[in-house]
Symmetry: C2
Subunit: 356 residues, 2 copies
């Protein structure tokens, strides 16, 4: 068991003091060129790897991660990433990593802006948020660039130099995957009803991408047999309207066989559907919300694509810890798996969501 190499060892080998070695390692300057070269050479030769445990202990500085998320309990989906972050914080708190949480109203760009400002003013060492409002998010990123706060995005990616890393789904591909599953369920032919249960759908890039993925897949699969009918419903909290709309569509287009709910609100559709005699609809939705899972087990939802919302949050905090404590470089994009969840394998995902 070859003992670990310490800075003391390399100091001795290089014929200098540990302080000098330290200066070389941290590039604090104040070291002559020759000595620096010598130290680096010895470090190479001895294959020195700093003891991160000791390093963290001695560093002894708290890292504050600013977290800007939708108000807790305002929407079941948006609770997941935040809870994931809190779990992650629990597991890295002994590295001195803390969260500064700031919530905003999910449907108010103004509130988003205001909250962002409040958060930045607390001078966090990094920032995590989902760019729900594109324009305001870009402004925020500009602001972050000014005050030099590295940023991780979750849920939706946005191109901006200040974005250090994106953690989340590949929306387009999740649309493709939905196409695959729905085409299987349709047995060769049929119409897919694409349901956007959201506000400002046109402004939500990820929903657009999902639609694109679905359409591309079905076109490439069988242009003539499969078609997509799209319907945006902003008033998704009104079951009667939703049910009425669906009844109307089913009368008009008899060959609707499947429904693709593009976000986590599939359960709202199921709740709204009255038992009017209709052909069995195969429904595909997203995310392991309790309500969705309930209907999945009952057979009223056929597929859920798990976007790992909770794990997104978890990873965001873990990654920032890696970045600050362990000095790891982060990948610009981290696409999480698109898990296909059916009644038969739901339990394990649920368990994992709660576990880490």
């Amino acid at each position: 068991m070859s003992k670990r190499v310490t800075i003391k060892d390399i100091a001795q080998q290089a014929g200098v003091s540990v302080g000098t070695v330290d200066r070389v390692i941290h590039e604090r300057g104040r070291v002559s060129a020759e000595v620096k070269a010598k130290v680096l050479q010895v470090m190479q030769a001895l294959d020195f790897e700093p003891n991160l445990i000791a390093s963290t202990l001695a560093f002894n500085r708290a890292i504050q991660i600013g977290v800007l998320m939708p108000q807790l309990h305002s929407d079941p989906y948006w609770d997941l990433p935040l809870l994931g972050m809190r779990r992650a914080q629990q597991s890295v708190k002994h590295y001195g990593v803390g969260l500064v949480e700031q919530m905003f109203d999910l449907f108010s760009p103004q509130d988003f802006k205001r909250s962002a400002l409040a958060l930045i003013n607390q001078k966090p060492d990094a920032l995590v948020f989902p760019p729900i409002f594109l324009k305001e998010s870009l402004e925020l990123l500009d602001h972050c660039a000014e005050v030099e706060v590295p940023t991780i995005l979750v849920n939706t990616d946005v191109e901006h130099p200040q974005v250090m890393s994106y953690i989340g789904q590949d929306s387009y591909q999740s649309g493709v995957l939905a196409g695959k599953l729905l085409s299987m369920a349709m047995n060769g032919a049929g119409k897919v009803l694409l349901l956007n249960l959201d506000k400002e759908t046109l402004n939500a890039k990820h929903l657009m991408d999902k639609e694109l993925g679905l359409r591309h897949f079905l076109e490439q699969k069988d242009k003539n047999s499969f078609t997509v009918l799209r319907q945006d419903v902003e008033d998704f909290d009104n079951p009667e309207r939703l049910d009425g709309l669906l009844k109307l569509l089913l009368q008009q287009y008899v060959d609707i066989k499947t429904v693709f709910v593009t976000n986590s609100r599939a359960y709202k559709l199921v709740e709204a559907i009255q038992e009017h005699a209709q052909p069995h609809l195969n429904i595909l939705g997203f995310d392991l919300l309790p309500n969705n899972l309930h209907f999945l087990q009952m057979g009223k939802i056929d597929f859920l694509i798990n976007q790992n919302a909770s794990y997104q949050g978890y990873l965001a905090i873990k990654n920032l810890t890696d970045y600050f404590i362990f000095k790891k470089q982060l990948p610009r994009v981290q696409h999480l798996p698109l898990d296909i969840v059916v009644a038969e394998n739901a339990a394990y995902y649920l368990q994992r969501e709660q576990g880490n």
Copy 2:
């Protein structure tokens, strides 16, 4: 920013020295009942949580984890858990966690026994292995109990008091899931060919469990329309024989629509199949081996159920680190998700396999 509570703080509050507090924390005795109670009470009151970083640093002891695995590169599946373990070791090595690897011949119980002995003699602090040979594994576990080496099983679970934790698949449920997917592919009726491409199939509990799961699902789904035809092939490395056998079966049973390969060797089937005019067979197999993925992308394999073999190994090491360094209790059973992998979502799983 409430500063962390240290043992010094609680020593002060309790009116004792840090040494005494230390003794209470580690239950090393030599503390009077009253003092102990007082210290515990103060710890409660101040909500003391030990600084694990400082603790590990001061502890300063190397943990050696014994790893007993099939010879590398003898079977593509069995490479995965080992590689996962090595990756995990990389990421926890600064806690002083090291691996002692001992390989054995995948098809030789004797060699397993011999290797196990050699490993135990090196007195590792813990042991990880897959109980491939049931009888020999139980003996090994008895031996571990004697020398008090805690053990984690991967891949297959075995009931034994010395097993601290099992990490792996739920074999039965993976059979159920296979049933679900195959029944979808069969559109209401058809025969499933269950193919065990392995030796000593009857002795392999996980294969039996998969079959059970499949049969139960199909029975409950539609007893009359679905049937299962089972075939064990020990000579799976002989493509001609495999192809001949398949041709024969397809002639005999014209309603075979899908094939369930119960382990990671689906690619061997695909490689063996000649292009004799036959109905398209939907094939379901296990695990993200390069060959399997290749055929998945080509459309020759329809589904792969990912048993997270690599992650099993990763978790085993991570969990032992948690156990030894962070003093966490481990769950007796950790079932990993049964990922449904199709061509459209394979990339993300592959990426994750390589990532952590």
